[in-house]
Amino acid sequence: MKDYDKKFIIDLYEQGGRLTERKNKDSYREIIIQEPVSVNAEGSARVKIGKTEVIVGVKMNTATPYADSPDEGVMMVTAEFAPIADPEFEPGPPKEEAIELARVVDRTIRESHAIDTKKLCIEKGEKVWMVFIDIYVINNDGNLIDASVLGAMIALKKAKIPKLDKEGNVLFKEHSKKNIPLNCTPTACTIFKINDLFLVDAEKKEEELADARITFGCAGDYVHSMQKGGKGAFTPEEFSKCLKLAIKKNKELQKLLNKI
């Protein structure tokens, strides 16, 4: 059964097509961005890539900084594979896959220094802003990593820092006009390998048949994060091919992000 499907996808690709209609076989499905999702969030966004939908929210609070970075704000990323999104997702604490997703998004943002954490210091050693980026999958039709990074960056771009009262307590209902200071806007592109095929923006059926995947998180001309997943592997030549394709696609995603 599965072998037949694999052949179907390969044949389709060779004829220039994919399961879901796209501009061409190497382009993303239609991307729809809506924001905000919640007016109570500092920033939030809904990203749909084809039938995949994720919502991402940014909430902020003050906290004591870490001892090794007394003048830097703190960022945290979590991901919920809500059971609403997929018959295979179950209630309960995040499983390995959700933790992996959150950590890949975290690394992409952290390693590119997208958030200027030094500017989120309120009082050195005493008080800094904490930025929580929470990702909820609403419908899973594949390519959750790319959608999540996109959603996180839009939510961050749109976020307004809450006001503080005279004692320095956070006024959660009042937002200042200040944005979260950003240095750059990274994106991620994941490539799925099916036999000798390399698919951009794979949908769930394609992901299930794939041998392996690799994600590249990029900002500008640099690669900041990378993650291989799945049961298969890549030859060095295949790796270089994926890298090239992902860099090209990330540039397109960055262009899209710059418009927001």
Binding site: E96, E97, I99, E100, A102, R103, R107, R110, E111, S112, A212, I214, D221, Y222, V223, H224, S225, M226, Q227, K228, G229, G230, K231, G232, A233, F234, T235, P236, F239, S240, L243, K244, I247
Partner: protein, 239 residues
């Protein structure tokens, strides 16, 4: 200060001192210890055995499950015992680094459990874990196409360094530190682990992978030698 010489005086492509042995945990079906510099990993394999709960069983092939655990006193600041988000992600990526070489079709519904403990850490623990685990799987007699060798490649400043230690990982001079752990199977010529954090141009990344493969091939020879040492007895009997 530009990074011209490695902190510990090694050549840029030089690995730290490696110790490798198999069969260190009598209770396990297979086990191994892999030490590279101060970083040490021990791995124990249990299985193939029946998988519980039953609904997780795969009727077509066996399941490989890895648990990576950092011992609380393996690092300077005590690590809280028990699973962390980091260790859960690493369990997953380590399994996906090993599975490409494991022939799991022979035992449907069953599971192979790989438990990895890190008693001492000086960077590159996931790579040491993969090295130890692949030797332990071989020691357990799990059918495999090849061993997997792993090494942490780094771009420290503008230099590609093989098998970076903690001091290099924390380098914050010009150019910073980019950490690129990889795993490689020589027989298959395949990269089975690819991770990265830091900042690197694509052409440097391709070069780093190439250098990393060279380092992994050296480790591979040491892994093979360790396995041969334990099973030397059989060779003598054959003569």
């Amino acid at each position: 200060m530009v990074y011209k010489k490695r902190f510990d005086g090694r050549k840029f492509d030089e690995l730290r001192k490696i110790e490798a042995e198999v069969g260190i945990i009598p209770n396990a079906d297979g086990s191994a210890r892999f030490k590279i510099g101060k970083t040490e990993a021990i791995a124990g394999v249990y299985g193939p055995k029946e998988m519980h709960p039953k609904f997780l069983q795969n009727p077509k092939k066996g399941t490989l499950r890895c648990r990576y655990d950092m011992i609380s006193f393996s690092v300077n600041e005590r690590a809280r015992p028990g699973p962390s988000r980091r260790s859960q992600e690493l369990g997953l990526v380590i399994a996906s680094a090993l599975e490409p070489v494991c022939l799991l079709n022979d035992f449907p519904k069953l599971i192979v459990d790989v438990f990895i403990e890190i008693p001492q850490a000086d960077a590159g623990t996931r790579c040491a874990a993969i090295c130890a685990a692949s030797m332990a799987l071989a020691d357990a007699g799990i059918p495999m196409k090849d061993l997997v060798a792993a090494v942490a490649v780094g771009k420290i400043g503008d230099k590609i360094c093989i098998d970076i230690n903690k001091e290099e990982e924390d380098y914050d001079g010009p150019g910073g530190a980019t950490d690129i752990p990889i795993a490689y199977s020589p027989v298959e010529n395949k990269l089975t682990l690819l991770q990265l954090d830091g900042k690197i141009k694509d052409e440097d990344l391709v070069k780093a992978i190439k250098e990393g493969i060279k380092g992994a091939k050296k480790i591979y020879e040491i892994q093979k030698a360790a396995l041969k040492k334990k099973y030397k007895v059989n060779e003598v009997l054959n003569e």
